[in-house]
Structure formats: C-alpha cells, structure tokens
Symmetry: C2
Subunit: 594 residues, 2 copies
C-alpha cells in the first residue's frame, strides 16, 4: 500500500523527475517526537559511480523547496538546481564521486510526506502525518546510505535547510561523515526567520480550503493554494537581499508583467511575487510546506556558545567527522553570517578542524545557489574533496626565524595567515593541528585551496573563538601593523597560546629615522619586506611601532619575553642584541608568553 | 449625511479618542488620481494654545497604524504614541507651541475613509472609496490648517508614513512649512518594503470574508480579520530589527504565551504575532489598511539624485521651507539610512539647509517611537524649534588663523566640524550659508543643538552630496589625520570649494623628530593641540603627515597654493616660511584651490 514515486495516487504527487529512483523501506521508522511511520519511501537521484570500496560517495541535501534533481544527468536533461557545483570536472566532480541527493522526508517530491498514503487507512496522511524533525529526515537518508552500500559519506553538503541536515549528520552520525559542508545555514533560525515561517503557516492554515490539512480529496481549485502562494511570496522576499530586489525591480517599479493572477499586480515586484507564488502551488503541497518548515523551526542546536559546543561535540569522536566547511554570504539576512560564525567559533573552541569563508555577495540567502558565488566557494568544497593546490609556499624574510622558533610538532594558530605560506610549510614539516585566521577573501580561498583550515575572522574582535591555552603557539606574522585593537588582541594571544610569536617590521630602522629626521617627510623605506613602502596618505598600515615600542608593550602587558631575533632583511644577517637592533634591524621576531 | 467621528455608524468606527475633534469640510475634495470626495471630515487633536499671530503651530503626522492621539492631554488621559516627544517642557513643548495631529485621510480613526458613509449612497464607501495619495492626505491637513487659522506651520514633523507627509508638505506647500522634520522615512519605499505591503494586501484581499471590500454589513466575525491580522503580523516583523527580535524572543523561544487564538502559537514569537495581529483587528479597518498602504506605496519622489533633487526643489522657493531635519536609525531595514542619505544629499546639493543624524539604535524602524532614541533626536527637533545652546564656542589654536583665512560672508562647508565651534563663530560673524559634516553622533547632536546645519557623513565616501564649486570655502580643520581615503577626499574638496582651507598638525615638528631619532620610539608629543599625544598602539590617527608631505600632495594634485600659515602652538607665534616651519611649527593652515 506504500505510495511509489512516479506512480502518484493523484496529480499532486506527480512531481518526480525521470531520474528519480525509489528506495522502499518496510521497517517502521520511529520518529524523534514520538510518532512512527509504518514504512517509508525515499525518492533520490544519483550521479557518477560508487567505487568498490564504497568510499567515494557524496550526499547533497536540498533546501525547503528543492528536490533530488540537484544536477542534470546529461545535456538533454532538465536543469538541476546546483548544476554549477555538481557535474563532470566540477567542484563536486561526478567523474570521481558517486553523488546522491534524496528528497526530504515530509516533502512532496518522491519521499514519504503528508500527501502519501497512510498504509493503515489507505488514505493520504494529510493532517495526521506525524510531526517530524531534521533528525528524522537524516534517519531516512541514513537508511538510504546503507541500502546503497555506502559505509561513510566522503562529504555531506547542503545549504539552508540542507545545511541543517549536514549539521545533523555530523552530530547524529559522525562516523558516517567525512567532511561536513554547511552553507548559508545556522545552528537554529533567528527569531525573525522563525516569525516569517509562522506567518507563512498561518496563511496556509487559515486558508478556508485547508480544511485542517484534509484537502486531498478536493479538486485542485478547492485546495489551499492561496495560502500556499502567500507563504511562498513571503519566502521569496527573505531569499533576496534588499539590494538585489532594488536591482531587479526599481527600474520598472510601476510596470508590472501582464500576467493572469488573482493577486495584486500593480507594481513590478507584485506581479513577480504573484507569478512565483502561483507557480509554486503547481509543484508543492501545502501540508509539506507546513511539515518541513516546522521541522526547520524546531531544529535547535542551542543558544550561546556553550550549548552549541555541546551539541557539536559528538562530531569530534574518534573516527568522527574529519573537518567542517562553513560558508556564509554577506547579504544573507535570513541566515546571517553571525550565525555561521557562532558555529565556527564553537567548532574552533572544540579543536575541530574547520574552514570558514564569508563570501561577499549581493545575492542574499539565495547566493548559495548562484553561479558567481559557486565560483567563489566551489574550490573550497573541491579542496575538502581532495583537489588541493600543491605549489610550494613562497616564504617571506621573517618566515624562516618564525619557523625556527616554533617547536617541532607544535599546534599553531596563525593570525593573518594570508594564503597560508607559513602553515603549508609547517604541515610539510609534520605539524598536525594548524589553524589560520584571515580577513581577506581571496587569501582565505587560496589558503583553503591548499587544504588548510582557515577561518574568516576580523582580529579586531579579539579571539573569542578560542579557548585558554588552546594552541602551543600563536603566530602574528607581519600583521601587527594593520590591527586596530592591538592591546586587546595582544592580551587575547597571550590567553590562547602557550607561546606567542610575533614578527614585525621595525619602524625605527635607521633608514626610516634618517629619512624622517633629515627630510621631515613621513618616512618610507623599501626595506622590511616592503611594509613601509607606501605613501603616507594611502598606506594600509595603521600602526607604526619600533622594536622598543613592541618590547615596551610586552612589559606593559606583564608578559614574559623568551626570545628575540633581529634581522637586517637586505643582508639577511641577524643583528645582535648589543648592536642596537632598534636602529640596525628592519625586522624582528619575539617570543612571549603570559 | 457625513459621518461624524465619535458618532460611528457601526462598531468599527468607534475608534476615536475623547479628545478627538472633528472638522467638517463640505467643499468637494478633488483627488490626485482623478476621483473626488464630495466632502471630508477630519478628526484631530490639539495641545497648547495658538498665539495671536497664529505662528506657533506644529503639525504632527502619524504613521500607518497611528492616530491623532499623539500625546496625553493630562495625567488621567490615555498614553499617546509620542508622549516622550510632545508635552509641557518636552522637545515639542506644548507650553510654547500649538500642536496639532490629525488622522489621515483613508484611515478609520476619525477622518474620512473607506468605512465612512458615501453621501451619495448613504452606505459605507467600502471598495468604492477612491484611490488616494499622500498629496491627498496632506490636502486635508491643509484645509484643517486654514480652518484653525494657522498661516504657516512652525514645523511639520513625522516618522515613517508621517515622514512622507512631512516631505509632501515641504514640496507641495513650501510656503506653509517652517521646518520639515522627516524621521525614519524615505523618498519612496524600497522594493523590499513595497513587496511586504503587496503581500499584506494579498492576505487581506484574498480573505474570503473581504468580499471585494463590501463587508461592512457583516457582523464582526464575518469580516476579513484573518487577512488583516496576517498583514499586521508581517508589518510587525518589519518594524523590529533582527537583533531586537532576538533580544525579545530568543530566551523563551519555545515557551509561548498562553493565549486564545486561531493562529499558530507554538513559539513565543508566534504567540506574540498572533496577539498583535488579532488585537489590531479590534482597532483597524481592512479597507483602510489597503487604502493607506497603497497611498504609501504610490509615494515616489523619484529614483536617483537628479529626480529627487527636482522633486525637492520647490521647497527652496522664496518664503519656502526654512530648513530640513532628517533622522534615520542604524538598524531600520524597512526605511534604511541610505534612503535618508539620498534625501539629504539631494537637499545639500540644492543648497537647502538640512541637518541629518543617523541614530545608533537596536530598535529597527520602531526606533523613532522609543524613549531612548527620542532622547537622542529630541534635542535636534527642539533646536529647529528655537531651543538652541548659546554657550560661546571654545576655539582651538588653529581656529583663529582658519577664521582669518575665510573671507567675510563666505559660504562655508566644514568637514569634520565637531560640535560646531568654527561654524558657530562664523555665524556670530554674520556668515549665512554654513554647513557642517561630522561622523561622531554626540558631536552632531551638540552642533545641531547650537542651531547649526550638520550632516552625518563619512568623509571616506567623498563628497557626492555636494555640487561643483558649491561653497566659497571648504574647511578641513584638524581632521586630515583620521581620513582613510585622503587623496580622493582632497580632490573632492577642490571640486566642491572655490577655496579649500586645511589645518593640520605637523608630524615633522622637531619635538617629534627628536623623540623618534633619539629614542627610536613611535614619536609622541603634547604639542599641536594634543593631536600626537596618543600611544602608538591606540592612537585614533591613521595618517601622520608633515607640512612638506601635505604641500607635496597639493602639488601632486596640481592644486594651487594661495596661502600658508605656520604656527608654534605653545608660544602662539607664527613661524615664518624662511624659518623651516616643517621643523619649527607644530600646526599649519594652507589655502588651496583647483
């Protein structure tokens, strides 16, 4: 009596692609909130080939209104919603990986949902469909994984609600997840996002054609499409940034598209919303919308870092999740970057390997689906899947002394890690626990493409992501001059690292002093790796310390100075402590601790 | 046959305060979009006393769901929505001013709207109520003004839709407006805000109880309250910032209030929205909601600065609007600050006196109604109404030479004007066209409290608000060291001013040079008005130029140097050009032009 995808019991459930396959599970599925589904059908699609070891599989998790058709299966196939990411030679390379995408539990695109037949009654579940959670969605995917002979996903990848699924996989089945890739997502919805969902459901459930969810015996025109369309219109606004809407609708604001609709179409944005809303009712089920948004609204990894760290800690078990990749988008106000930062901070605190990038984009929440943004974050996913840059790092003059001052095998946090030259060299030398922090997006992407863990992070915020004494060594290399809240950062480094290694250019080198004293110009020098080779009016530097200045700060902060190396970058020679390094050295490296 | 406020024809229209008076206008009111209202009733309240000259009146314009009861009339009266702003001794001082607030046309709180009786049919207008605009709302207020014997408003003050009314007053009846005070408003809605309105109206108009707007003969339970409540819920989200919602609902997200409601109440935010939505239907009419939001959505002063400047230009006629005060709120995403900046930039371009402050607030759009924010912007309104600080400005060492270099009567733009010390002195000397630009909020408020026109503005953006050669003199006094995009600003100053006067501290003064050369420390000095008296790691300075550096920049930009004054700030003496001012002067003032 179980409904098979592709053989719908009525028109509403015919929304299945030609490529959708069905896995039928006859064992009852116990649900998190207490209900039981007597049996489950899971609709899914696959790309590529599972290898003999069964270890090249990647799971794609779709968002609220998505489906299993993530990518086209050939040139004649209908477009998929993530074609720019998934395919032969693409970031998720179907020539190398066996890619799986299944429709979510509760949906209406091939997997059991409120429109499926209840085997007990032989009628559609409707309002009797039991309450489900993200964990239940993942439990169905877990059954599918076993059915397909996959022991462990190389990666679980999803955006938005798909990101919630990826995070649930990582914590509920850490042994089954290689890399967890969570895009444009959050540990739980903001109260604002939750409120939008509430209103969408209110629109559906107060539609007089909703009949408490028992509307499947009605003809299409007597179903709750008005409420569903309004919910969808509302969703559409939240998926776009205000800037994107301005670009799309401001030019012809009073010239709506001439469409047939029961909704208002006075303004161009109104005709767009009416069209989107009505189109959606042709492919989606109101009960599914209610069931899935409720599952999303219930998803809750806790409030505050401690709760979040506790929720994420199962990912760290032996044989658990290898690493996380978290990506947010600057104009996403539905799943704002601060929520991704919360996840990243909790993971960093737990010593979980994690890479984080906040992609600058005008696209709002939908950015994770857009080709230009996929071109930005795609390489980060490819790197997690093993496609890494192997070119040797080009070291800078201070890098050698910095490297010498780091004990063999030490765990290292590199603040302002750039494209990862220092970390790549440390990895080459066998260091294992290495984390970089960087704020420039191209550098983050370059470092991540090397397979390094790098976190998008503004050093002026301090180091709240990291625990006391979390690293053997914290490095601040050639970065000090661009930090605003330097004293605060200095104290934070001493808190987080057992040792702190700081390399910096010496602003009191004689070349600069002479220039200034003689010429009375803001001094400039091509020494010190070019740190001071900028015109006064447009230098990126904000701070101009000498060696003596930095040593004084060490004293002021009551830190202990362990070592100091002074360099002449032109000759490459060291300057002895008795040779007035503040005058004769243009670079310095100091090692301090609390 | 005209409906009188306080004597409703049915329960729906009994929403009138005890203090609401009614002005009945029997002349037909021609409407902007072609219709005519045969007659109009205007409900309004007043506070204070109109003086004999009839020139102490202030008009308050309310927002979408507001009403004429802006403030309580006594201790026993019901609270008003702007009590913190309006009352005896408050920023809008009812001991000094005759304050008027009227209900808007199209509403349901005492002024003619869709629920009023159509005198032709004797039935409520309902769906036949003609389409109205902001200009029509203002036309009714204009009749009221004449009826009350007021020749010109001292100020027209409004937030949100009330701000639209204030802007319409300023352009449609410039001779009737002293000061235009526009808070949390815009030249037209963003496409995003427009989209929210569309969805709200769709919820109302697809409510099966709406009956095309002809529902007044139905009992309350058969009226379109479900749609109206959903529209209101949606509005509520847009009035709050995401941060404010988080603060309000995140702690007890899963503990909803136990209320009786037909709407979802699973989450605390849901029960709140349900309560707000249902409460609203007790005091508001669905047809009014549609009519007023449509008027707001049609309000459009044009796209782009040129169109906006053209729309605002009528305010500048002889005897027109004396000045504008524009205020926005940092977390207002419904009427974002950039829209207020557009208005301000257009006004500044037109040489209209305008003060602008962007108030830092977590409160979102509703911030304009909150007491802490009113405490911030209230003094700006009080200053426009004549309550200005009269303490003499305390001049700084360079101010005297700067003042001497400004020709008598010149128009002056002071960039980084601080609390307005220089501008206040210039005003004392009889200069008339004076504009300040400042980024620090307390300083903006202090300068505005002096009755100066000051614009909240980040100099790193250049000077797009201002036209070529708009000012006789542009001053950059003791500000240069904190500007990031200095070369860009320099060119912009040369474009906007016929002369540019720059005062700055000399970083190559011998005290600093000696310190640096001898001690090898980032130099520090208590000279030059304290500009260089900061530790290297936390100085607010970003740029450290010498006199020679600045003169070189003048050359690089191919600007003409007209005068240069060099000072020793300790002795107060001038340093002659032949006495090596780059070594001996700690302050300098230069006059340059393109």
């Amino acid at each position: 009596m179980i409904h098979k995808p592709g053989k719908p019991h009525d028109g509403r459930l015919a929304w299945v692609s030609d490529h959708t396959q069905a896995a039928v599970f006859d064992q009852p599925l116990p649900l998190t909130l207490g209900g039981v589904l007597p049996a489950v059908v899971c609709g899914y699609e696959t790309w590529g080939t599972l290898n003999v070891a069964g270890d090249n599989a990647v799971l794609i998790c779709h968002a609220l209104s998505g489906d299993a058709h993530a990518a086209r299966h050939g040139v004649d196939d209908a477009p998929g919603w993530w074609d720019a990411l998934i395919g032969p030679g693409k970031a998720i390379d179907t020539d190398r990986f066996f890619v799986v995408c299944s429709n979510v539990l509760g949906g209406c695109r091939g997997t059991t949902g409120p429109g499926s037949l209840n085997p007990v009654t032989g009628l559609p579940w409707g309002a009797d469909f039991p309450a489900i959670t993200l964990a239940d969605m993942v439990a169905v995917q877990h059954r599918l994984m076993q059915r397909l002979g996959i022991g462990r996903w190389r990666a679980v990848v999803g955006g938005s609600l798909g990101g919630h699924q990826a995070l649930n996989w990582a914590t509920a089945h850490p042994d089954c997840v290689g890399h967890c890739v969570a895009l444009a997502t959050s540990p739980r919805l903001t109260s604002q996002a939750l409120a939008f969902d509430v209103i969408g459901r209110n629109a559906i459930q107060t539609d007089p054609q909703f009949h408490g969810g028992q509307y499947y015996d009605q003809p299409k025109v007597a179903q709750p499409d008005t409420g569903l369309a309004i919910a969808r219109m509302l969703g559409h606004i939240t998926y776009l940034s205000s800037e994107a809407m301005e670009a799309k609708f401001d030019v012809d604001r009073n010239r709506p598209r001439d469409i047939a609709t029961a909704f208002e179409k006075r303004f161009s944005v109104g005709s767009y919303l009416a069209h989107q809303g009505e189109k959606f009712t042709q492919r989606f089920d109101a009960n599914s919308y209610v069931a899935i948004t409720l599952a999303m609204d219930r998803f809750d990894m806790g409030r505050g870092r401690e709760a979040l760290a506790q929720a994420l800690s199962p990912a760290g078990v032996a044989g658990g999740v290898e690493s996380f990749l978290v990506v947010s988008f600057s104009t996403d106000w539905l799943f704002p970057p601060r929520q991704s930062r919360d996840v990243v901070n909790a993971l960093a605190h737990l010593n979980h390997p994690v890479t984080y990038a906040e992609i600058t984009s005008p696209g709002g929440h939908d950015a994770f689906l857009l080709p230009p943004e996929i071109a930005q974050y795609g390489p980060l996913i490819a790197a997690k899947l093993g496609r890494v840059t192997r070119d040797p790092p080009r070291l800078r003059p201070t890098d050698t002394p910095v490297l010498e001052l780091i004990p063999a095998g030490a765990s290292v946090l590199d603040l302002g890690c750039g494209s990862g030259r220092l970390l790549a060299e440390l990895r080459r030398r066998g260091h294992e626990r290495l984390v970089g922090v960087e704020v420039a997006q191209p550098k983050i992407i370059a470092a991540a493409a090397r397979g390094l863990d790098v976190i998008d992070y503004d050093l002026n915020r301090g180091l709240p992501a990291f625990a006391d004494d979390q690293f053997d060594v914290v490095v601040l290399s050639a970065t000090l001059q661009s930090v605003d809240e330097l004293v605060h950062l200095f104290r934070e480094m001493l808190r987080v690292g057992r040792r702190v290694v700081i390399s910096f250019a010496n602003f009191a080198h004689k070349a600069l002093r002479e220039d200034y004293a003689k010429n009375g110009r803001s001094p400039r020098s091509d020494r010190a790796g070019g740190a001071y080779d900028h015109p006064w009016h447009s230098t990126p530097n904000r701070r101009f310390p000498s060696i003596v200045d930095v040593l004084s700060l060490v004293e002021e902060c009551r830190a202990t100075l362990h070592e100091a190396v002074y360099l002449d970058s032109v000759s490459g020679r060291r300057v002895a402590a008795e040779d007035d390094p503040n005058l004769n050295a243009d670079l310095a490296v100091v090692v301090v601790s609390e």
